[in-house]
């Protein structure tokens, strides 16, 4: 059986180890835009990071990151953060996503932190804040609703 999100044992193990890098390796588009995660130095959660790749630019005049790339970054962060902080191993599936753009996202590293506002039996609500130079000057806030899927037990 191939390792991956749909292998319950693999999901439980990587989750117990907090191995978000193993999850990101299996998300080609998140890799394409350059998403990484590391433990929050000042807390117990994760801080996500988006690389300021040239191919992430959406406005060459300013220049600024593509708003859609910032959205994809925040959706990735919200989903993976939920997988780590949910009560049990779950495979979330996005239902809807909403983003407010607050400031121009310059072509510099962008960070995101997530808050799980509600985890029900079937649905979760996750809030994501993204910033660049200073966390109290967010470039965008986002909100995700996700359905919590139960991973298949391995047949091994």
């Amino acid at each position: 059986m191939t390792e991956g999100f749909h292998d319950a044992a693999w999901l439980a193990r990587t989750r117990a180890q907090g191995d978000v890098a193993a999850w990101l390796e299996r998300l080609p588009y998140a890799r394409h835009i350059g998403v990484t995660a590391s433990p929050d130095a000042g807390g117990d959660g994760l801080v996500f990071r988006l690389e300021p790749h040239q191919h992430n630019i959406g406005n060459i005049l300013l220049p600024a990151l593509h708003g859609g790339v910032v959205a994809a970054f925040m959706e990735t962060a919200g989903t993976l953060d939920l997988m780590l902080s949910a009560r049990e191993p779950r495979l979330p599936r996005i239902v809807d996503f909403s983003i407010d753009y607050l400031r121009t996202a310059r072509v510099v590293p962008t960070f995101a932190r997530c808050r799980l506002l509600r985890e029900g039996r079937r649905l979760a609500n996750v809030q994501v804040t993204a910033w660049q130079e200073s966390e109290d000057q967010p470039v965008a806030t986002a909100r995700l609703h996700l359905v919590l899927g139960v991973p298949e037990p391995s047949d091994a």
């Binding site: 998300l27 593509h66 708003g67 959706e75 990735t76 239902v95 996503f97 983003i99």
Partner: protein, 164 residues
Amino acid sequence: MPDVPSPTVDEWRAALARFVTVIPHTRELGLEVVSVAPPTVTMCQPWRDDLLGDVERGLVHGGVLSLLLDTACGSAVLCGLPRPEVCPTLDLRVDHYRPAVAGKPIWVEARVLQVTASMVFTEGRVWQEPGCTVARGIGNFVRLGERNTPEGFAEALFEEVNHD
């Protein structure tokens, strides 16, 4: 007034095709402009493996759909105004009806619903098979106005077209 009185649909298609080619992210992805009938634009994202979000089940990353909706809605704004203005996205909402699947092109159509003095309201739809919506998006864009739009912005959109 600029030298772009009333571009034809072909001129608009060429102008927006150039617009998405000038944007590094959509150039890299190879996004194509299929047709433009102001204030509606239709684009097509050819399949490529780095659009995936779930490799094992072969599902597209949800963020790709947000990206396509933002790009298509933003392009609709350009052709939905009396003359093109710089309009940043204020907010975007995406409803995921069903997952998009690997190996097939992803289509997106967006149109302007309403223009006011300060805002442009848009909506967009993503699909792979006709009549089978994958995602729906609502994007609101801020009009910065002619004063904050760089001189020559409208003309630059049609530059190549007019030189053809």
